[in-house]
């Protein structure tokens, strides 16, 4: 309800996607393929492009992201990219998730980082 509005609780893949957007935003490269590669490179999860778009779409419909469409490029056979950017609610949600994670993980680094 409006008077108890809280940032959405994020699923773990949603967190990865939002983090991907956050990382790539400054370079102006936060679009599907780049996010997918970033997740693959940093988290080791080889996800499909459609999984990424499905999640992006859901996050956008929750109001955590906004998107715009870029110019056609040659490397893409004249197709356009769809870029994403975090909205304040998205950032808040990600912060909350981060706080929850670090809070819970506090003092456990030794055990979590051990092999």
């Amino acid at each position: 309800m409006w008077f108890k509005k809280q940032a959405s609780v994020l699923g773990d893949f949603e967190q990865l996607v939002l983090l991907g957007v956050l990382r790539l935003e400054p370079d102006g490269a936060s679009y599907g393929a780049a996010i997918r590669q970033e997740i693959h490179a940093k988290s080791g999860r080889d996800v499909s492009i459609n999984a990424v778009y499905t999640t992006l779409d859901r996050l956008e419909s929750k109001g955590l992201l906004e998107s715009w469409i870029g110019e056609p490029t040659r490397a893409r056979g004249g197709r356009r990219r769809k870029f994403y950017r975090l909205r304040p609610t998205g950032l808040a949600a990600l912060r909350q998730a981060y706080r929850a994670f670090t809070g819970m993980a506090d003092g456990l680094q030794g055990r979590l980082e051990a092999k």
Partner: protein, 865 residues
Amino acid sequence: MRLPAEWREFIIGDLEEEFESRAFSSARAARIWFWWQAIRCLVAPPPTRRAVVAPDVTPTRGDSAMQSLVADFRYALRVFARTPSFAIAIVAIFAVGIGANAATFSLVNAVLIRPMPLEEPEQLVRLFTRPPRMAGAPQRFVVSPGKFSSWQQEARSFEGMATYSGQLFTLTGLGSARAVLASTLGAGFFETVRARPALGRDFRPEEDIAGNHRVVILSDRFWRNELGTASDVIGRTLMLNSEPYTIVGVMPASASVSSWGPMSREIWVPLALTAERRTVRDNHTLESIARLKPGVTSAQAQAEMDAVSARLEQAFPNTDTGWGAVVVPLQEAIVGNSRLMLVMVLAAVALVLLIACANVGNLLLARALSRRKEIAIRSALGAGRRRVFQQLLVEALVLSVAGGVLGLSLAYVSLGTVSTLVANQVPRANEITIDARVLLFALAASLITGCLAGTVPALRAGRSDLNDALKEGGRGGAAMGVGTRRALVVCEIALAVVLLAGAVVVVRNLTALRNVDAGFNPTNVLTMNVFLPGARYPPAQRTAFFRTALERLRALPGVESVTFVDNVPLVGGSYQALIPEGYPEVRDLDRMTVQVRQVTPGYLQTMGIQLRRGRDFSESDGEVMLISESAAKLYWGNDDPIGRRAALPFSRSIMREIVGIVGEVRQLSLVSPPMPTAYVYSPSLPAAATFALRTRVDPMSLAQPAVGVIHALDPEQPVQNVRTMEEVRDRTLGAQRFASSLLGMFAAMALLLASIGIYSVLSYIVRGRSREIGIRAALGARAGDIVTLVIVEGLTPTLAGIAVGIVAAVVAARFLDQLVVGLSASDPAALAFVAGALTIVALLASLLPAYRASRLDLVKALRAE
């Protein structure tokens, strides 16, 4: 499978971009990567913007009813796409039910409803004589030439009338010799029927006179098969019984009516009676057809014929006393007594569909209740009960129409099988097709069943309590609607009882008829027909031929005895009044008629007919006669007829000595009572014969050798109807066999559906009551107690259903008893059997749910909430 349009550009662009960058290092790896990604994208594409949500449940003011229907329709499709197994199960049940109905209806349509393929067929009537009344005498009989010509002169109701008959010809000169069944037509036949030759001309009136009669009209079939559609056939000759017949015409294919003898033949020739035979009034041998004048009904024609018959009785007291005339519409004459049976079968299959409806209703109700949260949300958002009702009904209709389409295709596929199965049992069976009427029927059946199956769940679901439904963790929903579901099972069982009781009665009736003492023994008897045309075999040669054939047949290994008879039992035959010597000739034709059969010595032994007194015929006998006990009583009363003599009306000069008295035989059919009969033996034999062989081995194994004997005597002599006496008997039971096999099948379907119904309701109840069962188990109930609990749960509606069904069956039986003579549907034994069978089925259907209940995981069940 394809990507949603809104995503296609970005996804393909991304794939291409990454492929390009990967191709730098390894083109092959890049290709593999690309295809792997592409497949993953296609298998689970990103959602389209219009996500799956319920349609607007509250139509705004502008929403037309049509729009909301379309929305409901689309929503129904989406719901079923989400749970295909449920939809498939229901569509399958509907398909079987509607398919069986459509197939049965297409049969009814072909036989009863669709008009005969003739010009203005409703104006065509068959004319019969009505013989003087006596026990077992037929209601309709063929006509004598003399009576027919009196009708022709006196009756004014008819535009035209004609006689016809059939004759077997031996066709030579076109390949190997073969038998051809021809219709012999009196003058004006084609004119009356309004069939016009495609080539050549119709018969001329003067060709119906003996001597001018050697002309023939060919059927399209004969013209094609035998003459290769030669256009110059008119004027050519055909050798029939070794006489040349000039071809004068060819009928078009459209003139062929397979269900009506005279129009289904290969060729037609004039009847051409001799002047002497034309005046015969007391020998009834001809069929007749007439066309009513426009505007005259068959009832009016009947009234006129009654008056004509009364006048003829005055004019010809010797021959016409007691004889009447019967006017029967042609279609009715052909369809005859199969009407009642077909209507019965249609009613039975409709019951199956009703049971299927109850079953589907049950499934839909379960589903509607499991969806009651969704429904409650819609109601909360303002959907009225009407709106919810409409949506659930549309869902049911979508399923039933899909089932109807599938069922219709099933019916279409099975038509060929159906028509061959019933070919010998139902007239016009070969005309079965799926036409507009059948399509309409199937559509109507689909809509009605959809409404029937959908209404109860839709009403029930619309009634559920909003608050209760919305409450998370409220009663699991399982115990809801149990009353309605039980009621549906009760209906199902009751319908099944009615259907099963009917089926049992019909099957028992058939068995009883098969086992009825017909007075002869049909096992191990082979029969075959041989007709020796007069043109090829004059009487002396004919008798010699038959005697040699009898001799050689008797010599075949495995043959016990051989005989010769004009008509075997159950096929009917001649029907005359005896003239006992030394007694005043009785004119009381009402009673004094006997079946007359011409036989040879050995007939009694071959047919297994009992000799009561006196002796059998012997080869050395002259003109002798055997009579049945009732015939002896009829003519000689208490006097002993053995040694006395009697004559037959058509050969008054020949006095035949009675040598013995034999047992009664059902000559006409198994249903009609035995008739007084006289068996005549005369040293000269008739032209049309049935050979009957009593065998020690399987009678059909002697079919080849027996036909071989005839062909050894005359290679060109056709042999017809080689069949066992049991086949002859079963043919007369065609209608009963048809009804019992179909009713048996439908009863099996009903049983299956009923057991599915019981099973599904019980599993549902067990699931819903798992907590209660868990508590019982926790309190110490043993597995046996729980099994009993579930079985009692299943048996309660079953027993209620059986009780309702028995009442319904008894009421239905009252109605049936009036329609079918000698068939008692309220047979207590049959009802007891049905009740027992259904109880066992209910027990079996309860076993699995009961077993599941007894093996319920206690902890899970108690923790479920």
